[in-house]
Symmetry: C3
Subunit: 339 residues, 3 copies
């Protein structure tokens, strides 16, 4: 179903193979050798397509769907339309993700060094890399294997990049060390000076920013996001973090493993997040805070204090989520009374 100008579909895959790929359970009554050619949404799928149901809100679409195969939670199985084959999973979205990855695998890039790319003679580039037109690789940079440095991206002097990384079009890196399987989206800015200076009426005096940005394995960093290097210590992004577009990460910030920062979040300097912290869009965190593992921060929150592990907060200034909801409800009642 995807536009063939932009996407190439693999497959077809037999039902039995898709069960193996997804880790979902096949029901006995379906034909294990039935072939499927693509993934599709519930409302656009046909008999040769695989779809999924993850949100009860789409139950009607599920019951009306013509999809040949659907990944669902076991409790939904009895609601399936006649003739639809099912794969059962306690986490249907995750199982579906594996199937969609099979149909649309991320392939290693086609090796190339474009004539208009610039690779400094002192840089080292691993085997299987693709350096696209206008890309620049600086002095002493070290790039691993099977990396794609997209058009007009810039890898600064001395930057280290692991294997199987993608540096998006127009993105720029400096003073940075990246792990494996890192994806930097177009226009992200990694490693520039942090916002550090001694303020004063006689003029603000710049403080040299002497740290780096250290990025773990399997990290994604969104389009036009900015991550400043440390002032002395490093700025650190842990393994598996997912950072959306237009996010700001200040100097000396540490993110643990698997943090999720939605678009336009800002994290001020020297704030440390534990593992699997999630922050909604446009949330802001002031500097020098400690945010415990598993904490959740609502969209547009303004966090000005430490947050305990697992705590959920909202509002600006951010308070416990229950208190924020209570405040909104209270204000709503008060103005209604006043009318």
């Amino acid at each position: 179903m995807a536009d063939s100008r932009f996407f190439t579909v693999a497959g077809p895959f037999a039902l039995e193979a898709l069960a193996g790929i997804s880790g979902a359970t096949r029901r006995d009554e379906s034909d294990p050798s039935a072939l499927f050619v693509d993934v599709a949404s519930l409302d656009s799928a046909g008999p040769q397509h695989v779809s999924f149901l993850d949100n009860r809100k789409y139950l009607d679409a599920f019951q009306a769907s013509r999809a040949g195969l659907c990944v669902v939670a076991p409790a939904m199985a009895e609601k399936a339309p006649k003739g639809m084959a099912l794969l059962l999973s306690d986490d249907p979205y995750r199982a579906y993700a594996r199937i969609a990855q099979a149909f649309y695998p991320v392939l290693p890039p086609e090796p190339w060094q474009a004539p208009t790319a610039w690779v400094d003679p002192s840089a080292s580039v691993g085997e299987g890399c693709r350096i696209e037109p206008g890309a620049v690789v600086g002095a002493r940079a070290e790039i691993g294997r099977r990396c794609r440095i997209a058009a007009n991206a810039v890898v600064g002097d001395g930057v280290v990049i692991g294997d199987d990384c993608t540096i998006g079009a127009g993105a720029t890196l400096s003073h940075a060390v990246l792990g494996h399987r890192v994806v930097i989206y177009p226009g992200a800015r990694i490693g520039q000076d942090g916002f550090g200076f001694a303020m004063g009426p006689q003029g603000h005096l710049k403080v040299p920013q002497l740290g780096r940005v250290v990025i773990g394995n399997g990290v994604e960093i969104g389009a036009n996001t900015t991550i400043d290097r440390g002032a002395g210590p490093d700025t650190v992004i842990g393994d598996g973090c997912m950072i959306d577009n237009l996010v700001q990460i200040g100097h000396n910030v540490h993110l643990g493993r698997g943090c999720v920062l939605v678009s336009q979040v800002g994290v001020s300097g020297s704030t440390h997040l534990g593992d699997f912290v999630a922050a909604g869009g446009q949330a802001g965190l002031t500097g020098h805070l400690h945010i415990g593992s598993g904490a959740r921060i609502a969209a547009q929150s303004g966090v000005m204090r430490d947050i305990a592990p697992g705590e959920t907060v909202g509002g600006s200034p951010a308070v416990a989520m229950a208190d924020w909801l209570r405040t909104s409800a209270l204000l709503s009642r008060m103005i209604r009374r006043k009318r």
Copy 2:
């Protein structure tokens, strides 16, 4: 008055011609053949300049102005200084816009393919295009006529661009189909993967993003704005939308015709806006919402529910504008009482 290093003025134009260009009404007593050489603000204009009054706040400046010609609402005519010629219009700013466009027309670009540009042999580029230094046009891309692909911009593989479009310096496009007369400002990122993955403590699993970004005619997309492609369906930007700088548009978002999104707005995935919706700066919309045509969203609002056509909302969480104003007034009274 504009700096000639950057702007070239057309003209001069006679009063009668400016009446025709603007659609405004000339008063009988003025000389139709009087010539004007440029536009200028009320306070800097001289006898050969055209100015306008759109906001009563500037009435004093109008009455003190030396402008030879001014576009005003009919009700303002009697307040004009002696000797100033007038063009009368119910929408003076719009009439002035047409006159300013006549003095500073957007000309088709001077055709060129810079030696340091990279155009893939399989791409098609229409007549009259300008491909500036360092610009990159990918495989099978299709570019219409009279387009300007500015310095270091990147048009990804398979991208389709209509006629008379400008892709600003350093902007990047992928997985996108653009109409005619689209202006992409410098550094905008169009078509990268949306923020879609199955979260989980064993790691977040990326879901392939299989849609596109489809942009209508006459759209402007601001500097460093990011628009992610759809996850399966497309992300759609309707005809005539005006999107400011640093705006985030998530995957599967639909904007109808003529929407106006001010700087730093964020629209989360799968939210649909009708026609002529306006959102003030830094407003945020969560995902999967329906915003009716003509709705107005105040700056910094946090929209977490559907909005009816024509409704105006403010606050975070956003409520009806009147309620938001009432809440602010109530809180202000309460703290004053407590002092």
Copy 3:
């Protein structure tokens, strides 16, 4: 201590020289000829390193530090561990900044014009400039001495740049005039059209944007920040302003001297700031406001009215800081009572 792949340390410096460099006072009992080789944080420093104490919060780290030399306020001197030499200053962070600048000086760039750079024959480039790979310098542009135009940066037609400026990787300039010692960080967008059009149901009509961006001396502009040119008047950034990443500055905005705008701030069109105004992260200012010199705006504030010189405001809509704190405290009490 800094990673030698990215930083080169100068020195060593004798204690007496560091006293002179920093303007801080040396105590008699220390050896003026003792040599120091680098700066370091209190907890990582050794006997050959210089550190500083600026925040009482780090008093424990100071007392446990093995730093050979530390810059402190006079009142802290008696708390120093035995054997640590001291430099005394009323502004230890500023004194330290000068010392760190001595160890890590900003050197003029190594002159170069990369073979893949594009410099229009009509442009003028001063002596000692470095034009890196993929950088583009447009027609009639004028670049001063010892400037660095980093990889894939774009200096548009007619743009004027003073001496000792850095234009970061992938940044783009148009319709702009810059002073000396300006640093533009990677991906910043300077001088594009402002968001100016006559709105209407028959379509929004673009108003030509005929001004420039005029930037003073010693200004820093953060990564992916956007500054639109004026609509007729200029957009003006005063001497010594420090602007962080992802900030939006609308058309016709004026910033006085030494303003500090933290990341993700937005300033709407035609708003004027005096000197040394400071705005916290994600604050937003609507258009046509006057913000007095020395005003302070808290993070995430929404400023919708003029602010007097020296006033401090917070909240959205922003009110006097004391009122904002009072409101938060009142709401907190009210929901506690309701439980």
